[in-house]
C-alpha cells in the first residue's frame, strides 16, 4: 500500500510543479460531478501533455465514464465544481457542443450511432458544425468497410463496424483531445484486435487521447500513462508500464 501511495505522490507532483511555468496542454482541476444527488466524480485532477495517450482505469462505478462525460460537457453528469482547460480554453464554461467545437471529441460508450441515418449521414453529421478534420475520402480510405456500407443505416452495422464509424465520426472533426469510452466493450476478441489495430494505426498522428477501458491490459498497451480512479478519486497516476509491472496495484484496483 505504501509503495502505491509513494508512487502516486511523486508522479502527481511533477506536472503540478510545471503548472507554475506553463499550463499543460490539457488539464482537469479538482472536478466534482453529480448524477442528480449522487456524487460520482469526487475531485479528480489530471494533466496530459500534447500527443500523449492516457489510460483512465478503475473498477466498475469508479467514475471513469463520468469523468470523460464531464470533460465532454454532456448534460449529465452535472459538473458542480472544478476547472477544465484545453489548450488554454476554459472548457468548464462550455456546453457540450461548444466543447466539441473547441476540439474535444467523445467516442461514447455503446457507440451511439444515430438510428435512421446512413453511414454516410452519420459522418456528414460530424461535418455540420465548424471545425473539420479528416475529409470523407480519407475516412473511407482508412475504413474501407464503411465505404462499402455507406448507404446502409448505421445501426444495422456489426458492433465492430459501428465502433469504426464512431471513431471515424470523431476523426471527421478538428480534434485536439479524443475521449474513447470503452471502445472494446461488447466486441468479440477478433473484432477487439481489429479496433486495437485501428487505434494503434492512428497513434502516430499524435492525437492527445484519454481511453477508458475495462480491458485494462489492452488499454495499457496503447497508452503512455495511466490514471486509476476509485470511488470518484484519483488513487494512482504513473506510466502505463508501472501499472503493468505492479501486480499489487492491479489486483487492488483493477482486479487483474
Amino acid at each position: 500500500m505504501s509503495a502505491i501511495a509513494m508512487t502516486s505522490e511523486t508522479v502527481v507532483q511533477t506536472p503540478a510543479a510545471e503548472v507554475e511555468t506553463s499550463r499543460p496542454f490539457f488539464s482537469v482541476r479538482d472536478v466534482h460531478s453529480y448524477y442528480g444527488e449522487s456524487y460520482i466524480v469526487q475531485g479528480v485532477s489530471l494533466d496530459i501533455r500534447k500527443g500523449e495517450i492516457l489510460a483512465l482505469l478503475g473498477r466498475n462505478g469508479a467514475g471513469k465514464s463520468s469523468t470523460l462525460r464531464t470533460i465532454a460537457r454532456t448534460d449529465s453528469p452535472q459538473m458542480r465544481q472544478g476547472e477544465i482547460w484545453l489548450d488554454d480554453q476554459p472548457i468548464h464554461q462550455m456546453k457540450s457542443f461548444e466543447a466539441a467545437r473547441a476540439g474535444i471529441q467523445l467516442v461514447p460508450e455503446d457507440r451511439r450511432i444515430i438510428p435512421g441515418l446512413t453511414v454516410e449521414e452519420n459522418i456528414a453529421l460530424a461535418k455540420v458544425a465548424p471545425g473539420h478534420g479528416w475529409d470523407v475520402e480519407q475516412i473511407y480510405e482508412s475504413f474501407p468497410r464503411l465505404a462499402e456500407r455507406r448507404k446502409q443505416e448505421g445501426v444495422t452495422l456489426s458492433g465492430g463496424e459501428q465502433q469504426m464509424l464512431a471513431i471515424a465520426r470523431a476523426l471527421a472533426r478538428d480534434l485536439k483531445l479524443l475521449l474513447l469510452d470503452e471502445p472494446y466493450e461488447g466486441l468479440a476478441p477478433v473484432i477487439v484486435h481489429e479496433i486495437e489495430r485501428i487505434l494503434h494505426s492512428i497513434k502516430p498522428l499524435g492525437i492527445t487521447t484519454i481511453i477508458v477501458e475495462q480491458n485494462a491490459v489492452a488499454a495499457l498497451k496503447l497508452a503512455d500513462r495511466a490514471v486509476i480512479l476509485d470511488t470518484g478519486e484519483v488513487v494512482f497516476s504513473g506510466t502505463a508500464k508501472e501499472v503493468l509491472d505492479n501486480a499489487e496495484l492491479r489486483h487492488e484496483y483493477l482486479a487483474i
Binding site: 457540450s96 457542443f97 461514447p108 435512421g116 449521414e121 455540420v128 471545425g131
Partner: protein, 343 residues
C-alpha cells in the same frame, strides 16, 4: 352505392388531411423538444385569426356620416367606402377576393416569429420539468391566447369568404367520365386536401433531403450525440418549434372558409389531434400522418346512416373506440418507437 362510398372515402381523406396536418405539427414539437404542446390548437387559432386580420385590413373602409339620410332605426346613415380598392383599383378587389391565400404568405413569418418567441420566452424553461408542468404551462398559454383573441375580436365567429372562383362544388364524377352531378365535392375542400398534402410532403422532404433536416432527425433520435459532434441542437429545435407553429397556423388559415373562426376554433381540434398522435405513435411523423388519414376515413364512414343503423351513435365514438383498440393491441401506437415517454 358506389358513388356514396366513393364520396364518403373522399370525405375521409379530406378530414384525414386536416387531422394529419395538425398532428404533424404536434409531433414535430414532441419529437424534437419532448414537450407535449397543448398550445398547438391555439397556434392553429392564431393562424386563422391572421387570415381574419388580413381581411380586416384589406376591407378597411372610410366611414362618413350622412346626416341627410337616416337608418331604419333613426340614426344618421353611415356611408362606407372600401379603402384598398380606392388605392389599388381592380388589383385591390382581387386582393380582397383572395384574402385567404394572401394570408398564407403573411402567416408564414408571423407564425414563425410567434413560435420562436414562445419557445425561447417560455417553453424552454420547462424542458427539465415534469411532463405535467409542461402540459400546464402550454395549456395556460392556450387559454391566454384565446382570451386575448376574444378580447380583440369578440366571441362570435367571423366568416371568411373563399375566393369567388373557388366556391361551390367540383363535379369529380364528370372528370372521371361518369354521369354529371353524381360525385361532387367542394372545391375548397379539394384545395385544402392538396394543400395539406403539399405541406406534409414539404415537411418530410425538408427533413429527408436537407442537411438541416438530417440534423433535426439525428437530434430527435439522439440529442446528446448530436451535441457532442459540435452541433447546437437547441437552436435548431427552436426553429423546428417555429416551423411547427407555421404548419399549425397555415392549417388554420386554410380552414377559415370551411369554418367561420372564433377564439375557440383550435380547441375543437386539440383533443382530436392528440388522439391522432397517440394512435400514430408518440414522436412518429409518418405515424401521425397515417393515423390522421385512418381516423378521418373511419369517422366519415361511421357517420353514414347505414352504419349508424347497425351501431347507433358509432359516429361519435368511433375515433375513441379505434384508439382504445389500437392502444390495447399496440401500446406504442401504430408506428411508435420504444423508449418514447417511457423511462
Amino acid at each position: 352505392m358506389f358513388e356514396v362510398i366513393f364520396l364518403q372515402f373522399l370525405n375521409g381523406l379530406d378530414k384525414g388531411a386536416a387531422y394529419a396536418l395538425i398532428a404533424l405539427g404536434l409531433t414535430l414539437v414532441f419529437g424534437t423538444l419532448g414537450v407535449v404542446n397543448f398550445a398547438h390548437g391555439a397556434l392553429f387559432m392564431l393562424g386563422a385569426f391572421t387570415a381574419v386580420t388580413v381581411r380586416l385590413f384589406l376591407t378597411m373602409e372610410t366611414v362618413t356620416i350622412d346626416p341627410t339620410q337616416l337608418s331604419p332605426w333613426g340614426q344618421p346613415l353611415e356611408v362606407r367606402e372600401p379603402l384598398v380598392q380606392a388605392w389599388l383599383g381592380d388589383f385591390g378587389g382581387v386582393l380582397v377576393n383572395y384574402s385567404v391565400p394572401v394570408s398564407i404568405l403573411i402567416a408564414i413569418p408571423i407564425m414563425l416569429l410567434i413560435g420562436i418567441a414562445l419557445e425561447r420566452g417560455i417553453i424552454k424553461h420547462f424542458y427539465k420539468r415534469p411532463h405535467a408542468d409542461q402540459i400546464l404551462v402550454t395549456f395556460g398559454l392556450a387559454i391566454v391566447a384565446q382570451e386575448v383573441i376574444k378580447s380583440i375580436y369578440g366571441p362570435n365567429p367571423i366568416p371568411q369568404p373563399m375566393p369567388t372562383d373557388l366556391r361551390g362544388a367540383a363535379d369529380i364524377g364528370a372528370w372521371l367520365g361518369m354521369q354529371a352531378n353524381i360525385i361532387t365535392y367542394p372545391i375548397w375542400r379539394l384545395i385544402y386536401f392538396l394543400f395539406a398534402g403539399i405541406v406534409i410532403g414539404a415537411v418530410f422532404a425538408f427533413l429527408q433531403f436537407t442537411t438541416f433536416g438530417m440534423v433535426v432527425r439525428a437530434g430527435m433520435a439522439d440529442r446528446e450525440t448530436v451535441s457532442i459532434l459540435g452541433i447546437n441542437i437547441d437552436r435548431r429545435f427552436t426553429i423546428m418549434f417555429g416551423l411547427a407553429a407555421v404548419v399549425a397556423g397555415l392549417a388554420g388559415v386554410m380552414y377559415t372558409p370551411l369554418l367561420p373562426p372564433n377564439y375557440h376554433i383550435g380547441m375543437d381540434f386539440l383533443v382530436l389531434s392528440f388522439v391522432v398522435v397517440v394512435v400514430g405513435g408518440m414522436g412518429s411523423l409518418p405515424g401521425a400522418v397515417l393515423a390522421g388519414f385512418l381516423l378521418g376515413i373511419l369517422q366519415s364512414f361511421a357517420s353514414m346512416n347505414q352504419v349508424k343503423a347497425i351501431i347507433p351513435g358509432i359516429d361519435q365514438i368511433i375515433i375513441y373506440l379505434v384508439a382504445v383498440v389500437i392502444l390495447l393491441v399496440r401500446p406504442r401506437g401504430l408506428m411508435g418507437r420504444r423508449g418514447v415517454m417511457e423511462s
